[in-house]
């Protein structure tokens, strides 16, 4: 069970490098938009949910497909993850609204910016090429739920929900994420899938775990070998060089 352990980072890195070379312009812009949501709930809330969702999501979605690229594209992909955070619900909910800071715990997300009710965000693979898209929201109930869905011509149509509820016995806040992805068929979809690699649900869980660290401790916990907070892949137990 041991000697052959290969860091996920190495596998991911190789997959990403290869995929990036092949994909080219197909990945340059992914748009997820639901303009009606902005009219209903206003820009800040709208973007938060969408970002949260997609942050843990588009990458994850495509990564899932990478696990079995031969799978029929119309199967779609459902992801669930949950974490209990030892903080009051209103604080936890509010943090998700500070979408510019979501990259602190979503390792694959480079940046998130907002403007005109649309969240624009950028992820970056090891080959250095950016993947960008816009996102908006469809539901926002304070301290309870943020929901989104993509419309129009999104390369990876998706929808999702983040729910916040009181954990029993004063244990803090239960955060549950549900994501749904419908990756496209064809070469582009396959390329996105390969870009995003394996174990998408693990990626969402790890993001939530880092979210918990940020909420409870104030920062993401690092061990040696992680030079930038965004490069939190598998860490060698060697001192930083």
């Amino acid at each position: 069970m041991t000697g052959e352990h290969q860091p996920a980072s190495e596998r991911l890195s190789r997959a990403l490098s290869g995929a990036m070379e092949r994909m080219g312009p197909a990945l340059e812009r992914v748009r997820l938009a639901a303009p009606s949501a902005v009219r209903r709930f206003g820009p800040p809330a709208a973007v938060a949910g969408a970002v949260a969702a997609t942050g843990a999501g588009v990458y994850a979605a495509a990564r899932a497909c990478g696990r079995r690229p031969e799978a029929a594209p119309d199967e779609g992909l459902d992801l669930h993850a949950a974490v209990t955070v030892r903080r009051p619900r209103d604080q936890v909910y509010r943090f998700w609204h500070r979408f510019e800071r979501l990259p602190t715990f979503m390792t694959h997300v480079e940046s998130v910016t907002t403007g005109d009710g649309v969240t624009h965000w950028t992820a970056r693979g090891p080959a250095g090429r950016a993947v960008e898209w816009d996102a908006e929201i469809v539901e926002d109930l304070r301290d309870e739920v943020i929901s989104w869905r993509s419309t129009g011509t999104a390369l990876v149509p998706n929808s999702g929900t983040v729910r916040f509820c009181e954990a029993p016995g004063g244990r803090g806040t239960e955060v549950r994420v549900h994501l749904r992805y419908d990756p496209p068929g064809g070469r582009a979809g396959l390329a996105v899938a390969r870009l995003l690699g394996e174990h998408p649900e693990q990626q969402v869980r790890d993001d939530l775990r880092r979210f918990k660290q940020v909420m409870e401790i104030g920062e993401v916990v690092r061990s040696e070998g992680t030079r930038a907070p965004r490069l939190l892949r598998r860490r060698p137990a060697r001192p930083v060089r």
Partner: protein, 389 residues
């Protein structure tokens, strides 16, 4: 700096590596003044723990002087002398809130990896595989200490390194084993394994009021050290352990049993030893549980079996029928060192216990490879090795 690195099964090397530095706000960097080789380092050395990588710095028992603190550390200052507990714990999660520091929810950055092996992730630990966080260990000149505001205990009086070093792991580990036995007047406690943790479990059980503590091993020199802690001793190659314990307790069996052996147990029955050794070598089981089986089968009805020896994965032929039908209670855990630091430092200061009695070898850090070999092969009556950088 120099550090003792894992270079593959049965191979450690003292190498020149880059100095550690502050990575998180709650970090400190400690100049190591004393460090020790632990029995659990031998499981790494022998290649039984998954997710080790060539070059990993070993060691989770260490103490030293604070040379740098992160911006969020207010309780420690440069120059403070500290002992560092081996589990890395944030002090802010639900587990830490319950005093369960060795299962801290936030300190393992590779928690996803640990979940695959263990179901949920325990805390991160120094020098203890990537599954437990990939944190460099303390068998080095310097070490980064995460959550330095939570873990390390300051040593402010004139106690020598050797008197307090073992607060980092083995003294509280043995102590917690005895504590799990819920000792009542008249209790007879049996301890499998006369290594340093077992020796401390013996000492702890007496301090908690045990009537008699029996220690089981096959190395006469280790049993002699356990005797110095007050134990009645049994050599399992000389006597049938169960018969001897039933005789000692007039048929009742020990009130509680402590497994201070773990996954690499030896056994007096060659056929059974070969069975488990083969399954372990072929990875059909990861752990060889003789001591645990014998503890379960010997413990009195309604008694407690406390597991403080290290297990990593899966084992075969566990006598669950005995546990269930005889109302046994099975307790286990990596030591929640942080919760024992203050009370045990007080015990040391007041002279209730001087943990340095377990030390047999003092070597410079450069000789760590020899220390590992002596300790693993039980050469030169090696019981505990302290390394000085």
């Amino acid at each position: 700096m120099k550090a003792n690195c894992w270079m593959g099964r049965g191979n450690v090397e003292v190498r020149e590596v880059p100095d550690p530095r502050i990575l998180n706000g709650h970090d400190a960097v400690v100049r190591v003044t004393s460090t020790a080789i632990c029995g659990s380092d031998l499981h790494l050395y022998d290649g039984f723990i998954p997710t080790m990588k060539k070059g990993d710095i070993l060691g989770h028992e260490f103490m030293g002087e604070v040379v740098e603190v992160g911006p969020s550390v207010r309780n420690l200052h440069v120059g403070d002398r500290v002992v560092v507990p081996f589990p890395i714990a944030c002090g802010r999660c639900a587990a830490c809130g319950l005093g369960l520091y060795s299962v801290c929810e936030n300190s393992n950055p590779n928690a996803g990896l640990a979940e695959k092996f263990l179901g949920h992730s325990p805390a991160g630990a120094f020098g203890h595989s990537h599954m437990l966080g990939g944190y460099p260990g303390g068998q080095a000149e310097y070490a980064r200490v995460p959550f330095a505001d939570v873990g390390p205990i300051k040593i402010e009086d004139g106690l020598a390194d050797e008197q307090v070093l073992f607060l980092s792991d083995i003294l509280p580990a043995g102590w917690m084993g005895a504590e799990m036995c819920d000792i009542k007047p008249g209790d007879v406690i049996a301890v499998w394994g006369a290594g340093p943790v077992g020796q401390f479990a013996v000492a702890g059980a007496y301090l908690m009021g045990a009537e008699q503590v029996v220690c089981i091993d096959r190395f006469a020199y280790r049993l002699r050290i356990a005797e110095r802690a007050g134990a009645t001793t049994l050599d399992y190659e000389e006597v049938d352990v169960r018969d001897a314990l039933l005789d000692l307790t007039a048929g009742r069996g020990p009130d509680a049993c402590i497994d201070a052996v773990g996954m690499e147990a030896h056994y007096a029955n060659p056929a059974l030893y070969a069975y488990d050794r083969t399954k372990q070598a072929t990875r059909l089981e990861t752990d060889r549980p003789y001591a645990l089986r014998e503890a379960v089968m010997t413990c009195r009805n309604g008694g407690i079996v406390a597991v403080i020896g290290l297990y990593a994965g899966f084992l075969d032929k566990f006598p669950m029928g005995a546990v269930m039908n005889r109302s046994l209670t099975l307790k286990a855990g990596q030591c929640h060192v942080q919760r024992y630091l203050k009370p045990l430092l007080t015990r040391i200061r007041e002279g209730d216990i001087d943990p340095s009695f377990v030390i047999t070898h003092r070597l410079p850090l450069d000789e760590a490879p020899r220390g590992y070999q002596l300790f693993r092969d039980k050469q030169d009556e090696c019981n505990k090795v302290v390394l000085t950088p």
